[in-house]
Structure formats: C-alpha cells, structure tokens
C-alpha cells in the first residue's frame, strides 16, 4: 500500500476546525479512518447558543416568551419532542404540572409581583428567617420571601440543574426571576449546569475527557458507533482544543488497541497493578503454604502465621538448619532445590505458571507504565515548545514558520508515544506465534524511533536545535512511518485472530 492511501480525504473537511487539521493527525488514522465517525466540535458557549436557539425556535412554535420556553425545556430535560407532544395534547396540564400557571392557586391572582421594598417603619417579615427585612421578592403565587433567604436558596438550587420552584409551592421561577433575585446572571449558571445534563443525557454528545477541557463533541452518525466498535475500529474524535479521544470509551485515544482490549486492560491494571506492585516489592511467599508474608521486623527468623513453618527470610529454607550457621544461607540453596525437586512437583509447576503469567503481565504493565510516565514528561516539554520556538527564533534569527518544525515534531512525538503505549496492551492479549513476533519487531522499531526523537528534545541550546533541524525532520518522518507500520501490524494481528480476551 502506498502512503497516499492513508492520507485522510478532505471531503468532510468543513466539519473540523482548521487548527487541528494537522499533518500528524492523519497517520494514526489509517486504522481510525476519519470518515467512519462524522462529528462536530462544540464549545460550552456554542452549546449554550444551541440551547438558546432551540428555545427561540420553540417559542415561535408555541407562541410563548423565550424565558418561559427555557423553563419548559429545562423541566423536560431538553427533550423538545416530548414537550411538544405533551404541550399540543394539553397545554394547561403541562403548565400546571411544571408550575408555570397559577390557575389552580385558589383562583387568586396576585398583582405587583417581583421585587418589593419596605420601610423601617413597616418592614417585611420573612417566613423563612422570621426576621424583618426591607427587600423581598414576590412570585405570581403570592409567596414572598426576603432577598437574603432567596439568594441562599438559589445558590443551593442552581447546582442541581433543575427548574427552581418557589420556596413554598410548586410555581416555577423563570430565568428573569432568578437573575433579578441573584442580582447576577444566576440563570446562566443554571443553564450551564443544564448543558451538563443535556450532554450527559444525549448519546450523540460527549465531553472531552482531557483534564480542564470543557469542549464537547457531537457525533452525527452515532448509530454506527456500536458497529464500528464490534469490528475493532476505533471511533476517534478530536475536540476543538485538539484533544483526541475515543467517542465510545470517553477516554484518551487508545489507537491501536481496540475498545474491548482497552477496557480489559484498564480493568486489569486497576485491579492488579497497585496490589501486585506492593506484594512483589514487600512480600515473599511462605515456602510451605504460599501465603504472602511481609517482614515487619529485622530478624530473618520467620514463623509463618498460617502454617507455623519456621524459615529463613534470606534463603527461604527451613530454620532448623540455621542453628549453628547463623545466616550463612548460601549452602542451603542447593539443599532447598533438591528438596523441591523431590516433593510437590506438580504444585511447583502450577506455581510457576501463575508466576509466569504474573511476570508476563508485569512485563507489559511496566512498559505501558513507563510510556505513560514518559508521555507526561514529553507533554510538559511540549507544552513549552512554543517558548522554545520563540527562543530559537530570537536566538538564531530565523522566521517563525521555519521554527515550526519543533511544534510539529512535538505533536508527532506525543501521538507516537501514545500509540506505542497502547500497543503493549494489545501485545499482552496476543497469543504467542508468528504474528506476535512480527508485531513485536515493529513495536521495537517504533520504540527506537520514539526514543530517538525524544532524545532530540533534550537539547536545550537553541543554536544546536536550529542546526539539528534536519535531524528533527528526519526523526519525525521515521517515527511517522513506524507509527503507521505499528497500526497496520496491529490491524493484521487482530485480523489473524490472535487476540485472546
């Protein structure tokens, strides 16, 4: 296959913002194939506008004020279809249920709603705090409370993203009421919280999982996602801040590992890694009953709590032989080995198998973990790459565009290291065999190339950096090629059916 085949086609370009349309985003996607997920990027502000537009449209349909429709939609958790259906059916019932109508309120009709002011001579006595106050707010239900109590109440309620009701009955507060009472834009806080709910409730939307990123991605062909995942394709999307993530998992891009591998791997790491690490570093197993034992004192004469076997912590042989030759354990290794040979051979085999599988896991976990840590280090270096670019520009006197190779290389490095990291998760679930041999050869090549480029980023002298521009470009090119090969090798390994989950 020629390289051109992996270039992503530009026909759906309008959907992505230009800033992320970067060369190195194309490589990883030979497996991802951009056109498999059609999506739109959103920011929270755009979402807010979308919601407002939705309200405006509906307010025309229903012939009701905007504020009123916001409250309606909020009560309907932004399910406008259901709202229209119910509203067309029986508008009065909807209004009553949501507290937007006062018809049922004992037929009373209250004038002079809104802010109320009083004088020292005739203050307002608030039912909540039972104090005399000069300012209050009255809703159309006639219930009136002081502004202090109302504000405390609102501060608590805006967090919940539900329609806020009168502190005493079921009449709903409109955004206008909320803003007047809070004196700030309290209703937009409520609306922002509504966005959270909206995004979480609609399967076609997802928050970017990157820390501190509040961008939203909307997938247009959401019905295809399940099929993609079933066929080991990864629905990668890029948020408006350039973060790549898997829309199915809601997790960082895990190319080349398919979603099911990722899920199992993460669960395994969660279950085992910390415990295993602690156990292997802090404990030995009792030579007789295999209980894990932590040595909490200095003496090497151990007595197993479980089976009462007395043994030496150093050679794990029985303590009986230590009476005269204190701590001189080297000679017992031979005896120990002999003893093991004689007895419980089967058990030994079984232990070995468990140990081997654990060791195998630890092998891959360590590799995975090392690259996770390295990614963080690379990332912090790449975060300041803009500064380096400026320094190179100023120090060596080259143009901005000429120094951009640094930014490109940094992003290539980050992507490639992530691919490398996840390839270890894939390897863990692969059967030994020809396919895995090939896979690991490619993997080793990728690891080499990653380290080579990473090494170039260690250079801090701006003049050297400028001189080494060609090295950067070559290393990046090599890395891109190897990354592409890695993704292909993974695809092949999976297609060969060597994956064991």
């Amino acid at each position: 296959m020629s390289d051109e085949e992996f270039e992503y086609t530009d026909d759906s370009d309008s959907l992505y913002s230009d800033s992320v349309d970067d060369d190195n985003f194309k490589i990883e996607d030979s497996l991802v194939k951009h056109d498999i997920v059609q999506y739109k990027q959103h920011t929270t502000r755009e979402m807010m506008e979308t919601l407002h537009k939705k309200c405006t449209k509906l307010s025309e349909v229903l012939g009701k004020p905007h504020d009123y429709v916001v409250t309606l939609l909020q009560s309907y958790k932004w399910n406008s279809e259901k709202l229209i259906e119910d509203y067309m059916d029986d508008p009065q019932d909807v209004e009553l249920r949501l507290g937007l109508s006062t018809v049922k309120l004992n037929g009373e009709h209250h004038e002079n709603t809104g802010l109320q002011t009083y004088t020292e001579e005739a203050p307002f006595s608030c039912f909540i705090c039972c104090e005399d106050k000069l300012e209050s707010y009255k809703l159309k239900c006639g219930h009136e409370f002081c502004l202090d109590c109302y504000r405390t109440y609102l501060n608590e309620k805006v967090k919940q993203a539900n329609v806020i009701k009168c502190p005493s009955c079921d009449v709903a507060l409109t955004p206008g009421d909320i803003d007047t009472i809070s004196g700030t834009n309290g209703s937009s806080v409520l609306l922002e919280n509504s966005i959270k709910e909206y995004v979480e409730r609609h399967k076609t939307y997802k928050w970017c999982p990157s820390p501190d990123c509040n961008a939203i991605v909307e997938v247009l062909n959401s019905s295809d996602i399940a099929h993609l995942v079933d066929t080991n394709q990864i629905p990668i999307v890029i948020c408006s801040n350039g973060h790549r993530f898997c829309f199915n998992c809601g997790f960082e891009s895990h190319v080349p590992a398919p979603c099911n591998v990722t899920k199992q791997w993460i669960n395994k790491c969660k279950d085992d890694s910390e415990t295993v690490k602690w156990i292997t570093t802090h404990t030995k197993t009792c030579p007789k009953c295999d209980t894990s034992i932590e040595k909490n004192g200095g003496c090497n004469h151990m007595t197993c709590r479980k089976c009462a076997y007395e043994f030496c912590w150093i050679c794990l042989g029985t303590w009986d032989n230590h009476n005269n030759q204190y701590y001189q354990c080297n000679r017992y290794q031979y005896e120990q080995a002999e003893k093991n040979n004689k007895s419980a051979k089967d058990k030994k085999l079984q232990d070995e198998a468990t140990k081997k599988s654990l060791q195998r896991y630890l092998h891959y976990y360590n590799l995975f973990n090392i690259h996770e840590i390295s990614t963080k280090q690379d990332k912090s270096r790449c975060d300041v790459v803009e500064n380096t670019v400026r320094e190179v520009q100023e120090g060596v006197g080259i143009s901005w565009i000429e120094a951009q190779f640094l930014v490109d290389s940094a992003s290539t490095l980050l992507n490639a290291r992530r691919v490398l990291k996840w390839s270890y998760a894939v390897a863990f679930y692969c059967d030994r065999g020809y396919s895995l041999d090939l896979f690991e050869t490619v993997q080793a090549g990728l690891a080499d190339a990653v380290e080579a480029l990473s090494l170039l980023f260690e250079i801090s002298d701006v003049e050297v950096i400028a001189k080494k521009k060609l090295n950067f470009l070559n290393a990046s090119k090599l890395l891109e090629d190897r990354q592409r090969a890695m993704v292909l090798a993974t695809e092949e390994t999976i297609n060969n059916g060597t994956l064991r989950l």
Binding site: F127, E131, C149, T152, P167, C169
Partner: protein, 159 residues
Amino acid sequence: MSSLLKNRLQEERKQWRKDHPYGFFAKPEKSADGSLNLQSWTAGVPGKDNTIWENATYPLTITFPNDFPSKPPKVRLPAGFYHPNVYPSGTICLSILNEDQDWRPGINLKQILLGVQELLDTPNPDSPAQEPAWRAFGKDRALYEKKVIEQAKKYAKAG
C-alpha cells in the same frame, strides 16, 4: 437553639394556632419541667372522609433538626404503621420531606401535614418503604383494604 430556628418555630406555632385545617392538631412537646420543646412536636392527621382511612386520627411525631429550615423536619408515624410509603420505623417517605428532592425552606407545617394526609390515600407504589403493605397494595387489594380499615379502628377518633 439558634435564633433563626427558634424564631421560625415560634412563627410556625403562631401560624398554626391562627389557622389550621379541620381535624388536625399539632403542638410542641412538654419537657419534664413543663417548658415547651419547640424542636419536637406531636401532631394528628385525620384520614380523609369517604376513604378507607376515614374516622381516624393518625398520630405523628415531628422532629426539627438544628439546621431547619435548610433541612426538612423528620416526620414519623408509629413504628410498624401499615402503609406502602412508611418505613418499618415509622419514618414517612414523602418527596417534600426529602432534602434531596422537593424540600424547600418555605414549606410550612400545614403543607407538610396536608401532604401526609394526601399520601395516606394515594400511596406511591414507585417508592416502597415497607414490604407487606406495598405487596398487598399491588397484588391483593382486598387484603390491603382490610388491613387499613383495621388500622383505622385502632386510631379511631374518640367518641
């Protein structure tokens, strides 16, 4: 007792004495020394006429927490009370009495007690709090009604 809590409870008492629905009663408990404990009330809610709950007044204890009215009061029927939404301990499961649901600081005692009266004859099968009454209500309505009427006799109005 904080002044807010005290003022509010005194206000509740004042409002209740001024105006309360027919057949209901509510009063703060008397301590051993004869003083009133405003944080702990006893009350009675009549069953609605023409329902299986009629001709009885059901006794309640109402406990106001220190952070009332931010937090709702705890309202209890006698332990073992037969109703789908009453826990075996007697605690009532009602949305307006739940801090995380519909409790709001402006809800007064009258609204609470009317809410309890309403709940008696219109149980909410979606939030069961005890098994016997909930099961009977759903599966064996005749048994349910028999038990409720027996219970009504136990709490029958004097005279």
